[in-house]
């Protein structure tokens, strides 16, 4: 087992940089800004190189880099959220979701059946549709959702990281999922399956 960088000469910058494409993909989805994502990923790789002695090798290198990326992204989001107030009043988002239901709280349109969620989740066409739909979420809703579902952060940590209340995080995630399923009704759930 690798204990430190000296015993782990292969953890050089080149090995770290092999994960750049992966880190960029995630950073882009989270930040929606190519330059910001590039700066962020460069910071992550530099930080990882400087801290390489603390990489224990008991998690995968990718997992370790993902943690560094997540921390860096949380710093960036905190700063963004402080500097720019909310872009859209929350009621606009909620009205869009409320319209999916009639006065009795029933769905106006029948949600599409998904025969095999695990199978659908493997299809390239569906993954591309999901990515497109995530990119279309209102910015903050998308940021909270990506922290939760791509980084796998639990809601308690999201509350701490972004100074949100638990109920606010739940509302954001509910909005995200409802908007995504509405978006995927137009060319995700129904159409990605093989005929």
């Amino acid at each position: 087992m690798t204990q430190d960088a000296a015993a782990n000469p292969q953890l050089d910058f080149k090995v770290l940089a092999e994960h750049r494409v992966y880190l960029m993909k995630v950073a882009r989805l989270q930040l929606r800004d190519e330059h910001l994502a590039e700066d962020c990923v460069s910071d992550v790789l530099t930080q990882a190189y400087e801290k390489r002695a603390s990489f224990r090798g008991d998690s995968s290198l990718r997992t370790w880099l993902t943690t560094i990326l997540k921390n860096r992204i949380v710093d960036l989001l905190r700063k963004q959220w402080r500097e720019q107030p909310l872009e859209l009043p929350d009621e606009d988002n909620d009205n869009r979701i409320d319209r999916l239901f009639d006065a009795g709280g029933h769905y106006v349109d029948m949600p599409s059946a998904v025969q095999d969620p695990a199978e659908l989740a493997q299809q390239d066409g569906f993954l591309a549709a999901v990515q497109r739909c995530v990119d279309m979420l209102p910015k903050r809703v998308g940021q909270v959702f990506v922290l939760r579902e791509v980084f796998g952060t639990d809601t308690k940590d999201i509350c701490k990281d972004l100074s949100l209340t638990t109920s606010n995080v739940w509302v954001q995630l509910y909005r995200a999922r409802m908007m995504l399923r509405t978006c995927l009704e137009r060319g995700g759930f129904g159409h990605a399956q093989p005929r």
């Binding site: 599409s112 998904v114 989740a121 509910y174 759930f189």
Partner: protein, 60 residues
Amino acid sequence: MIRISCQQASRLLSQQQDEPLAFGKRLRLRLHLLYCDACTNVSRQFAALRLALRHWREHD
């Protein structure tokens, strides 16, 4: 009230992806899903969404 609307059920379906539901909520949601095809579909859509994002992340 033991019966809940689809709107309430959908909130619980989402919340359930983030935290275990309290007993009463879990029971109401279960009962609702027994007779509601729409929310059963939504539940599977949410499952597909979660799996897709995990897969998206790992997939180069």
